[in-house]
Structures are given as structure tokens and as C-alpha cells.
């Protein structure tokens, strides 16, 4: 046990929270400092596009734990303080406006930041991005006055914001260059099901289309699509993806390539420096390739895994990535490895919808998605974990007992 060595956790998201808990649980008794640019303790960011945006939860209610909890763990909080420089040779961060903070070990949990659109008019007031609580508070305020909302991008954030805005009774138009929502991570079959759900809830979808510019006098008032179509709006929400927050570490000596490169124990190439969560691009030992995952569960678990490594108990981090998305009363869950598949097998009723989708590559179940069918998620996940090969006809057959199938796959492993 490294005794009185100190640890600085840089970041205030769920990876930082998971790390803080796990450091103490693993018996790390040195000083721990959590530094976050945000003025609040870690909160559940996933509600910002859902319950929080709809006004069903307050900022207080979405905190993962109250401030006192960190005091109880003996963790010093540096909230509302951004690190502006790092010197890994001297083991030192510089916090704005200039204070130096030394560390023995550093966990980088800086997460990700929204990609900004550089098209004409996107610098007008009335254009919002959604990542932080402050963003969500501003958006909630704007939404309360808006009638016509334009959502640019139909990834998870765009789809969830569209659903929340419809739930609040707004007119909503969504524009996305892909033919269906979430075509990248979920494929066309599942994307088509989601498109239908949004249409049924009254969202105007402009798929396969791009916004060329925004126009307006003092605020964004209309969007012009590349097709020439003009869409009037009084609020624009952009959700076109995120980028790992690595700017601070450019030129620091860390390897950066779509995130900060770490090994299967969350360690960078610099001794004592670790990374976890949306910012980390790690070597996944079970599938033998690198992954960077932008979801809550991975951030929580990888933060904890990095903390255990820091506390002197490194274990290979080899999860089956998991995430959920809630839109209207639809619950979607995903367990599996992102990446190319060559076959999608649907089970259930796409119209309801109540569907499970299996993503196969060369006959192996790589991922599973459930839409309003939560009971099939964990059996499906077990098939993924076991790297099972299952006849597609068997997967699609409603008479197949997935639990029994998963048990058999586990036993055969």
C-alpha cells in the first residue's frame, strides 16, 4: 500500500465519483483531491436531457452524493476550478488563476466536450449545446419560452432533447444527415424503429438532410437546409457528437489518439498517471482492441478500476459496455462491443415497439439492444460476454428461452 502518497482526481463527472468511492474502499489512505471546473459535486449527467430538462428534477436531486459525503470520505473538493496547465515531470497541475497543485498520482477524468458547429449563424444567441448542468439550466430556461425547437443532429442527445421538448408540448423538427436516427451506433433496422416513434409523437424529421446555415436578427430565427428548405425556429439545440477533453494534455508527454491512451489497467505511459471515462481510450483485453466509450456505466466502472490500480490492486478492465437511453416512455438498453457487424437479428414486435436486436459478426453475438424489453437485456449480455455463436433463426424465434440459451453459452465457455 502506497501509504501517504497523494492522488488528484481531475474531473467532476461520474468517472471522478466512481474513483473517489473506490479509492477509499480499496484502502487508499493518502490525501485525495477532486478538482472540477464545474461548481458542483458530481451529478447524474444523463438526466440533463431527460427528467431534469423536463423540470421533473432539481439540481439538488441529481447529485450523485451530497457534499458531506466527500467530507466523510476525507476527500478535498476543489470545485469551480479549472486546471489550465500540467507538468508531468514535476507532478504538478496549475489551477486557474495560477495556483499550483502537486500530486503523486493523477487520474485524468476530464470527460468529453460537445463538438461545435462552425456553420454560418451558429454563433447567434438561441443556439445551445448540452453537456453540463449549467448548459441544461440555460436550455431549460430557453425552452420555457420557446415554441419551435430545431434539433440539429439525431444522436442520443438530439433524440432525447427532441423527446423532452415534445413532452413539454413544443413543436420540434430534427435534422440529421443520416437516413435514420442513431444509424451509427444502432444500425438502420433499430434506427427506423426509433424514427417511427418520434414521428408518432409528432416530431418533424428531416433525415438525410443537412443544415446549411442559421439566420436571424438578434437570435436564430430560421434554419436553411442544403435542400433549400427553410425551417422557422426560436431555439436551436445542437447535438452532433462529443470529443474527448484532452486539450490540457497536448504536448504533456501522454499519448493522445482519440482520447488518452491507457492500457488494460487504466495506466498511461507516464508512471503514476491514469485515465478513465469518456476521455480514456483503453486496450480491452477480452476483445483485443482499443475502445473509447461515451457512456455513464463505463465512466463509473472505469473510474473505479483506475482507483483500484492507484491503490495498488490493478486488475484488467474488460467490461461488456452498457448504456441506456430513455425517450418518451421508451426504454432502450444496449450491451455489447461497438463496431462493425454483418447481421442484425430482430426479435419481437417492431411496431409496438417491443424489440430485441442482436448484432452479429461472423456468427458471434457482438451486441444486444432491447427496446421496451428489459428482461432480455441481461441474458443477451451474457451471450455477448460468452462470445456465443447462435443460429440467427434461434435468436429470432419467440419460443426461444434466452435465459436457457445464455446459461448454456456460459457453461460452454
Amino acid at each position: 500500500m502506497p501509504g501517504q502518497r497523494s492522488c488528484v482526481i481531475l474531473g467532476g463527472g461520474v468517472a471522478a465519483y466512481g474513483a473517489a468511492e473506490a479509492l477509499r474502499a480499496a484502502g487508499f489512505d493518502g490525501p485525495v483531491t477532486l478538482v472540477s471546473a464545474e461548481p458542483v459535486v458530481p451529478y447524474d449527467r444523463t438526466t440533463l436531457s431527460k427528467a431534469f430538462l423536463q423540470g421533473q428534477k432539481t439540481a439538488e436531486e441529481i447529485l450523485l452524493k451530497p457534499v458531506e459525503h466527500y467530507q466523510g470520505l476525507g476527500i478535498e473538493l476543489r470545485l469551480g476550478q479549472r486546471a489550465s496547465a500540467v507538468d508531468l515531470d514535476r507532478h504538478e497541475l496549475t489551477l486557474e488563476p495560477g495556483e499550483r497543485l502537486p500530486f503523486d498520482t493523477l487520474l485524468i477524468a476530464t470527460g468529453a466536450e460537445p463538438v461545435r458547429l462552425r456553420l454560418p449563424g451558429f454563433d447567434l444567441p438561441g443556439v445551445r449545446y448540452l453537456r453540463s448542468l449549467a448548459d441544461a439550466q440555460a436550455l431549460r430556461e430557453d425552452l420555457s419560452r420557446a415554441e419551435r425547437v430545431l434539433v440539429v443532429g439525431c444522436g442520443f442527445i438530439g433524440a432525447e432533447v427532441a423527446a423532452s421538448a415534445r413532452t413539454l408540448g413544443k413543436q420540434v423538427t430534427v435534422v440529421d444527415p443520416l437516413p435514420v436516427p442513431l444509424a451509427g451506433p444502432l444500425g438502420e433496422e433499430v434506427g427506423a424503429i426509433l424514427a417511427e416513434v418520434h414521428r408518432r409523437h409528432g416530431v418533424e424529421l428531416r433525415l438525410g438532410q443537412k443544415v446549411a446555415e442559421l439566420r436571424g436578427h438578434r437570435r436564430a430565427e430560421e434554419a436553411v437546409l442544403e435542400s433549400g428548405e427553410r425551417i422557422a425556429c426560436d431555439l436551436v439545440v445542437v447535438g452532433v457528437g462529443v470529443r474527448p477533453a484532452v486539450a490540457l494534455f497536448q504536448g504533456s508527454g501522454l499519448q493522445i489518439e482519440d482520447g488518452i491512451l491507457v492500457d488494460e489497467r487504466c495506466a498511461t505511459g507516464v508512471p503514476g498517471v491514469y485515465a478513465a471515462g469518456d476521455v480514456a481510450n483503453w486496450w480491452h483485453p477480452a476483445i483485443g482492441r482499443r475502445l473509447r466509450v461515451e457512456h455513464f456505466d463505463n465512466a463509473a466502472q472505469q473510474g473505479a478500476a483506475a482507483a483500484r490500480a492507484i491503490a495498488g490492486d490493478p486488475q484488467p478492465y474488460a467490461p461488456v459496455p452498457y448504456f441506456w437511453s430513455d425517450q418518451y416512455d421508451l426504454n432502450l438498453q444496449y450491451a455489447g462491443y461497438p463496431g462493425p457487424w454483418d447481421q442484425v437479428v430482430l426479435r419481437g414486435d417492431p411496431a409496438a415497439p417491443s424489440v430485441t436486436a442482436f448484432y452479429l459478426r461472423q456468427g458471434v453475438v457482438e451486441a444486444v439492444v432491447t427496446i421496451n424489453r428489459p428482461r432480455e437485456l441481461r441474458p443477451g449480455r451474457r451471450l455477448v460476454e460468452a462470445r456465443a455463436r447462435v443460429d440467427p433463426a434461434v435468436l429470432a424465434d419467440p419460443a426461444t428461452d434466452l435465459r436457457a440459451l445464455a446459461q448454456a453459452a456460459r457453461a460452454a465457455e
Partner: protein, 110 residues
């Protein structure tokens, strides 16, 4: 047979299938019974994250998983084993007397 002090009778032990999650109510409070390797556990039936009925959830390695966002709770202690929930699940004491499962009215402390 009268219930032990502070307990309520819920079900016959034999009515609960091995590996099963059975919902029940005490004073409108939703709870679940779980039978695993013959042992009975009693827990709150509602996830501590948002609103989900854990009777629709799933069991794996002595953890019950919420059907909506995958929070995990240790069957024995209610401790959170997987986020997004951060509050433990209330657990109740269980006694099996003469083939009847009794559950404490009040949650176990600590």
C-alpha cells in the same frame, strides 16, 4: 400460527420458485421476495434511482439488477453494486416458520 413480533406473513415458502422474484405489499409499500439457493431475501420493490419495479428485474450472482438502467443491489445488504443508483435498497429481515415466510415491517438498520 401468529406472526413473530414486528413481522408479517407473506407467502408459503414452497410457493416461491427457486431463482424467482415475487412482488408483495406491506401497507401499500411495494417489496419483493427472492429465493436463491433455497434462501429467502426480502427487499424494497422499487429502485432507488428513478421509478422501476424490481420484480421486473434480473438476478445474477446475488445481485438484483434494475430493469431500466441496470443499477445493481446486493441481495443480502441492499448495497449498490452498480450505478446509476447511489442510495442502497432497503432490505427486510426474513423468518421462515412452519413453511411460512415472514418479513419484518421495518427495514433493517445500517
Amino acid at each position: 400460527m401468529t406472526a413473530p413480533e414486528g413481522y408479517v406473513a407473506v407467502k408459503r415458502y414452497d410457493e416461491i420458485p427457486e431463482g424467482g422474484i415475487v412482488p408483495f405489499e406491506v401497507d401499500d409499500d411495494e417489496r419483493i421476495l427472492v429465493k436463491l439457493e433455497g434462501k429467502i431475501y426480502a427487499l424494497s420493490g422499487i429502485c432507488t434511482h428513478e421509478y422501476a419495479e424490481l420484480a421486473e428485474g434480473d438476478l445474477e450472482d446475488h445481485v438484483i439488477y434494475c430493469p431500466l438502467h441496470g443499477s445493481g443491489f446486493d441481495l443480502e445488504t441492499g448495497r449498490v453494486t452498480a450505478l446509476p443508483a447511489t442510495q442502497p435498497l432497503p432490505v427486510y429481515d426474513v423468518q421462515v416458520v412452519d413453511g411460512v415466510v415472514y418479513v419484518s415491517r421495518e427495514p433493517r438498520q445500517g
